[in-house]
């Protein structure tokens, strides 16, 4: 079981600063997600760890050993590429054992390792096929097999599920997660899909403009977002960020240096609370999301089932006292401060 440490990592592309002072340390056998919008530097970070790009400054250590300047093959790191990067002219078996073969392992040991890995990934009957004869999911498994066969302590995955259709994606999500647990390796995967990150990872590093905005468990990212950026990135629909002025209508006064965060799913309807007018409603089956106009600000409200509410209706919104998140209005950073809240707001749902 290995620990990967990244300290003060920087990467410039000419004048563009793509990775800024990145610090990150994995724990043994951990599954880490690098999450962020496109262009936030998450793929570059992964390529820096793999050694496919040279770091401008900073260091990368594996179990305390410097690997920053080692060639990628010597780092003890394997990788699954977004496009899978399977060799089209080789069979599945030859693709998986490619690394062993170029490093001069005996045919016997190659086939032993192949016999161990292939059933793990359900590839036993496909070993003689070529990549073009495989479905997307099967190609993904071959790429995983090639990454796993050498038992490198750290495995990197670049957007591993982005080329799969929705149902296959859910299946592969479970499969990759259980493989990682069973093999006890450290996996770092890049994704722009928060559901993927939240459901698979032990810890999620949320990146923005090359910086880590927050690095913590999915629970903490959701329940205690470190900034408005995190708050708005995690959750579907994302957290409502409201001006304090909106709360005057329900008799609450909050210091003007704050902005207030409130998750759509933590809002319920009460007899007397924050009044708002429904502008439109979206129905998703298990729940509905209403857009409510509160003092000129759009606020999403998530309700169970299909409530009989038509656009134009006036609602009163309520929430529990601990549902309010405060952020600095200027920096967007989370502030810990208690908000005095009249009792009636958290009355029972209407």
């Amino acid at each position: 079981m290995s620990v990967l440490t990244i300290r003060g990592l920087n990467k410039f592309w000419g004048d563009t600063h793509v990775v800024r002072d990145l610090d990150l340390e994995t724990r043994e056998g951990e599954f880490i997600a690098l999450l962020g919008p496109s262009g936030c530097g998450k793929s570059t970070t992964l390529r820096l760890i793999a050694g496919l790009e040279d770091a401008s400054s900073g260091e990368i250590l594996l179990d305390g050993k410097q690997i920053t300047n080692l060639p990628s093959a010597k780092r003890g790191i394997s990788m699954v590429f977004q496009s899978y990067a399977l060799f089209p002219h080789l069979t599945v078996a030859d693709n998986i054992t490619f690394g062993l073969s170029v490093r001069g392992e005996s045919r016997k040991s190659q086939s032993e390792k192949l016999a161990r890995v292939a059933p793990l990934l359900g590839l036993k009957d496909l070993l003689d096929r070529r990549p073009s004869q495989l479905s997307g999911g099967q190609q993904q498994r071959v790429a995983l097999g090639r990454a796993l066969i050498a038992s490198a302590p750290v495995c990197l995955l670049d957007e591993p599920l982005s080329n799969l259709d929705a149902s296959l994606r859910a299946e592969m999500r479970n499969e990759i997660r259980s493989l990682q647990r069973r093999l006890g390796i450290t996996m770092i995967f890049v994704t722009h899909d928060q559901t993927e990150a939240m459901s698979m990872a032990d810890r999620v590093a949320l990146l923005r403009n090359g910086r880590i905005e927050q690095f913590d468990t999915p629970e903490v990212l959701y329940s205690r977002p470190a900034s408005t950026f995190v708050a708005k990135f995690i959750g579907a629909p994302p957290m409502n960020i409201l001006d304090v002025g909106a709360f005057k209508a329900c008799g609450m006064t909050i210091d003007g240096k704050f902005k207030v965060g409130l998750r759509p799913e933590e809002i319920f309807l009460v007899e007397r609370g924050l009044p708002g007018r429904v502008t439109h409603a979206e129905y998703f089956g298990a729940d509905s999301v209403l857009s409510v106009d509160v003092e000129g600000v759009q606020c999403a409200v998530r309700l169970q089932g299909r409530p009989a509410i038509v656009p134009g209706a006036t609602l009163h919104l309520g929430w529990n006292a601990d549902a309010l998140h405060l952020f600095d209005a200027e920096t967007g950073l989370r502030q810990e401060a208690a908000v005095a809240q009249p009792d009636w707001v958290q009355l029972q749902p209407a």
Binding site: P71, S72, A73, S78, A85, H89, V102
Partner: protein, 291 residues
């Protein structure tokens, strides 16, 4: 009505190409086949059927033997060396080197020169004593070699010119193929521990096999077709040491005006090229992975 209209339009579109092909490819081929079994018509004596006579003459013809063997040596050296050089040059100019654009242009220049111009440039290179090569060799105490004028070196001198001319042309195809290889494949290979030569042998070359076959076919054709420099520099001499099949056919047909024998020689060359093409498509094509 509509069908016949369609037919007329397609016929009109195909007609010009068909006329050209029939007039300049199919008819001459068939005519050559027929001529090869007749004698050459002269004056008042029309062509007479001689069966395999022309071919029997070939078996006994020492110049034909010489030309055949020369052409085999010529092809056996020109084809692999020009292709190997083309690959090496393509790998070089595909890498991130300084002045890449200039080097690419420099490598490609011989291709855009007409072969006659090339021959004249090399005539200067090969001139005894005053030529570039001899001037250079004189620095080391050698020199005074008549490269084109002696049987032992003349064929090799022509081979060098052909390679110089073809390698840059083939490089362009290799370069295009190299740029088609997804960089992530090479990254994946690097990450798996493959060094440069392993990447070349296990990933790059197999993926470029379709291009290699294409270049090989072209190289074979060029090795039998390219005789402009023979005409410009040696005319097959000295002592037939640079006699190549196509040049011999040209001499027999247009210097000696023995058209029937030239037709028979053409048939032999056609069969030879046909056999090579059969091998290339029947044998190599099955071993190539097409993306």
């Amino acid at each position: 009505m509509k069908m016949s209209r369609n037919f007329l339009i397609s016929f009109a579109l195909l007609f010009p190409a068909a006329v050209l092909l029939i007039a300049f490819t199919f008819y001459p081929t068939v005519a050559t086949l027929i001529d090869s079994v007749y004698s050459t018509p002269r004056g008042r004596r029309p062509a007479a059927f001689v069966g395999t006579g022309n071919f029997e003459r070939m078996v006994a013809d020492p110049v034909f033997h010489r030309a055949f063997i020369n052409n085999l040596i010529y092809a056996a050296v020109v084809i692999p060396v020009s292709m190997g050089l083309a690959l090496a040059m393509a790998l070089l100019v595909n890498a991130r080197i300084k002045g890449r654009g200039f080097v690419r242009l420099a490598y490609f220049t011989p291709t855009i020169l007409p072969m006659i111009a090339v021959a004249n440039i090399w005539m200067f290179f090969y001139t005894p004593d005053y030529g570039l090569i001899d001037q250079f060799l004189r620095l080391f105490g050698w020199g005074g070699t008549n490269w084109l004028g002696q049987s032992s070196t003349a064929l090799w001198a022509l081979i060098v010119i052909t390679i110089w001319k073809l390698a840059g042309f083939f490089m362009i195809f290799y370069l295009a193929a190299l740029q088609q290889i997804p960089p992530t494949l090479l990254e994946a290979a690097t990450l798996e521990g493959a060094n440069y030569f392993q990447r070349l042998r296990r990933v790059i070359l197999p993926l470029m096999m379709p291009t290699t076959l294409f270049i090989l076919i072209n190289a074979v054709i060029e090795a039998f077709r390219l005789v402009d420099h023979v005409i410009a520099l040696t005319r097959g001499g000295p002592n037939n040491s640079t006699q190549l099949l196509l040049h011999y056919i040209y001499q027999v047909a247009f210097n000696f005006w023995d058209t029937a024998y030239a037709a028979a020689l053409s048939v032999v060359m056609l069969v030879l090229l046909g056999l090579i093409a059969l091998f290339q498509f029947g044998f190599l094509d099955k071993r190539i992975h097409y993306r």
